[in-house]
């Protein structure tokens, strides 16, 4: 497992300090609010943030609701965090538009707001956005899948719970890329980001499309579930996931999963905090920082795996 919950390296709150600049000898206080902490992907973001707390001597906390469907709960968390008077906020808004009113309050109190993973399209007051957007990740995945196939091949898309902006965007990106390369989308079905449901959905898709040539899933869990269903049919086709979790990379190394689109969650967490500290100190922060996205396949999988494992040591 990952480093556990709680304050990480941070000492118990260093109590009241009136100024918000962080220029006094006090540690800067950084609040990180993620979409959830209940999945491997977000655990990597957390790990990155916590590493940065340590490296940069930050009094930081990472929180997030129990699941990505708890949208208002995240807004509540942002409100509650405001009462703790942080010096900077790093946030991955689950449903960006809902977070804007509370983010404005941070701005009103001159607390810099840095977004990670997911950008808010129509809010200009953010200090920075660190990440890649999910549509790009989906697009890369779609392009890679297309490169393994030939024009006219049937592919299937496995989506998350409909209405989840992150997975919806990925599917949208992948769909566009696949269609641009002349692939035929034979099915586009939701599996609620649930491994067991993805397996059932894949079984059913294969029922209709025994000649399926490839699959793109909006996260790794669903890709692994789909893989399992394909294996049961003795079908060996490229199946791609998104996120780059340890489980999926191990599967790639075992020559099972076709690949996964990794968005560098660790980098997002680390850079988010790093730039938050810069902003607190009044240094210039770039408006947009690309944390990179890469497709992981057999060639680069081992390197990535070593890196991920080093995080959890």
């Amino acid at each position: 497992g990952c480093a556990s919950q709680g304050g990480g390296s941070s000492a118990p709150a260093s109590s009241d300090k009136g100024d918000k600049g962080g220029s006094s000898g006090q540690k800067p206080k950084v609040q990180v609010v993620l979409k959830t902490l209940s999945s491997p992907y977000w655990k990597y973001v957390e790990a990155g943030a916590k590493k940065a707390f340590q490296d940069l001597n930050v009094d930081g906390t990472v929180t997030g609701p129990a699941s990505e469907s708890q949208i208002l709960e995240q807004v509540n968390m942002l409100e509650d965090a405001l009462n703790k008077k942080p010096d900077a906020l790093v946030v991955a808004p689950t449903q960006p538009s809902t977070a804007i009113p509370v983010l404005k309050k941070y701005k009103d109190k001159n607390i810099p707001v840095l977004l990670v993973d997911t950008d808010t399209a129509d809010w200009a007051d953010k200090t920075s956005f660190i990440g890649t957007d999910n549509a790009t990740a989906g697009k890369k995945g779609g392009e890679y899948l297309a490169s393994l196939l030939k024009s006219g091949d049937k592919v299937a898309l496995i989506a998350g719970a409909l209405g989840n902006p992150a997975t919806d965007e990925r599917i949208k990106g992948a769909k566009e890329a696949l269609e641009a390369k002349g692939m035929k989308i034979a099915a586009n079905q939701p599996a609620d980001s649930d491994k067991a449901k993805a397996m059932s959905v894949m079984e059913n898709i294969l029922q209709n499309n025994p000649d399926l040539k490839g699959v793109f899933a909006a996260n790794d869990d669903m890709a692994l579930g789909a893989l399992r269903a394909a294996e049961a049919k003795g079908l060996k086709i490229p199946i791609l996931g998104t996120d780059g979790t340890v489980e999926s990379i191990e599967s790639i190394l075992a020559d099972k999963l076709g690949g996964t689109v990794a968005q560098n969650p660790y980098e997002m967490g680390y850079k988010g905090v790093e730039n938050a500290v810069k902003a607190i100190k009044g240094e210039k922060v770039e408006k947009r920082i690309d944390s990179g996205v890469e497709v992981i396949n057999k060639e680069n999988a081992q390197k990535k795996l070593d890196f991920l494992k080093s995080l959890t040591k």
């Binding site: 919950q5 709680g6 304050g7 109590s15 009241d16 959830t36 902490l37 209940s38 906390t61 990472v62 929180t63 997030g64 609701p65 129990a66 469907s69 708890q70 949208i71 208002l72 709960e73 807004v75 509540n76 968390m77 409100e79 509650d80 965090a81 009462n83 703790k84 449903q95 538009s97 809902t98 977070a99 804007i100 009113p101 509370v102 129509d122 719970a161 409909l162 209405g163 989840n164 902006p165 919806d168």
Partner: protein, 327 residues
């Protein structure tokens, strides 16, 4: 005979006498607040209390709506989805089509009430055996439609009148809190001082007796589910005001929080027992708990476990209190 005997748990029987038992969960709430005040400097501050007041408002509105079906020994699983469809319709009307914002508010409440009414009709006219089924159906249907009509995209940029309920303050006090109090007072009057209110208790207590006493049970049930839907619409309005956007996954899973608030507040699933103010306390317990855990930086996984424990504890305190009260 069409009547069937169902036993009620010990705890229920004792309930019902006098003032104290009406505010069963109150002691649990007080204990909870005391603990949090000790643990966190930020808890008992004006700012934070107002936070809690705002954060509890959506669940409080859903819960008071939910109280009615539960009083009639029913349930409404669809409130979260009704909330979502109501606000998406409001978004379409007043943002996408740019119509009058007040019309948007009417649409939001109207859609809520209409869906609630449909629940009532399914139950009474289609004679589905239990509202669990009809409202489970509505839960899926309304959520599906909410997703379909906007292609799952959120709608932002609501006009000020729409945002008012969820966003405005009166001095330091959030308007949504005042709204909750007003709504609760109205429900208190409705349930205790009107004949329809009494009929709701009567139906929950014994449907057959109610029918034989000349109560139009079906009509009352339709009113009950309509009001529950209306409250879901109102909760949606408050939510839109808070986050200035409507999104189709809004309110997912909220029915559980609403039901928990009602039950923690001392109502019985067997119907006929439960109060407006108990429900408010139940909703407040849940909000205080969530807020307190956030303030204490408790991680999400521990939050889950702790919320579970506190729900059990809050109710258990009530059980203990009643037991000693009985002696």
């Amino acid at each position: 005979m069409s009547a069937v005997i169902v036993e009620k748990s010990e705890a229920r029987k004792i309930k019902s006498n006098g003032f104290i038992s009406k505010f069963g969960a109150l002691i649990g709430l007080i204990i909870l607040c005391t603990v949090l005040t000790i643990l966190s400097d930020n808890f008992l501050t004006v700012d934070n209390v107002m936070n809690i007041a705002r954060q509890s408002s959506i669940n409080a509105l859903l819960a008071i709506g939910m109280l009615l079906p539960i009083l009639t020994a029913g349930i409404d699983l669809s409130v979260g989805s009704i909330l979502a469809l109501s606000i998406m319709m409001m978004g379409i009307v007043s943002v996408n089509h740019g119509l009058n914002p007040y019309l948007g508010i009417v649409v939001c409440l109207g859609v809520g009430a209409l869906l609630g009414w449909t629940n009532g009709i399914m139950l009474t006219k289609l004679k589905l055996p239990h509202p669990f089924i009809s409202t489970l159906g509505t839960m899926n249907i309304a959520r599906g439609i909410a997703l379909i009509i906007t292609g799952a995209a959120p709608i932002a940029g609501f006009a000020a009148p729409i945002q008012f309920a969820g966003n405005q303050f009166v001095g330091p006090v959030p308007f949504s809190f005042i709204l909750v109090i007003v709504v609760y007072i109205l429900f208190d009057i409705f349930l205790n001082r009107t004949s329809t209110g009494r009929y709701i208790y009567a139906i929950g207590g014994n449907k057959e007796t109610a029918r034989l006493s000349g109560i139009n049970v079906n009509k009352i049930l339709v009113i009950v589910y309509t009001l529950s839907g209306l409250m879901a619409g109102l909760a949606g309005l408050v939510m839109v005001g808070r986050v200035n956007s409507a999104f189709p996954l809004a309110g997912m899973g909220y029915e559980l929080d609403a039901i928990a608030a009602v039950i923690i507040g001392g109502a019985s699933f067997f119907g006929g027992v439960g109060t407006v103010w108990g429900t408010l306390i139940g909703a407040t317990i849940i909000a205080v708990l969530r807020n307190g855990l956030n303030l204490l930086n408790v991680s999400a996984d521990f939050q889950m476990a702790i919320i579970g424990l506190v729900i059990v504890a809050a109710v258990y305190v009530d059980v203990l209190r009643q037991r000693s009260f009985k002696k």
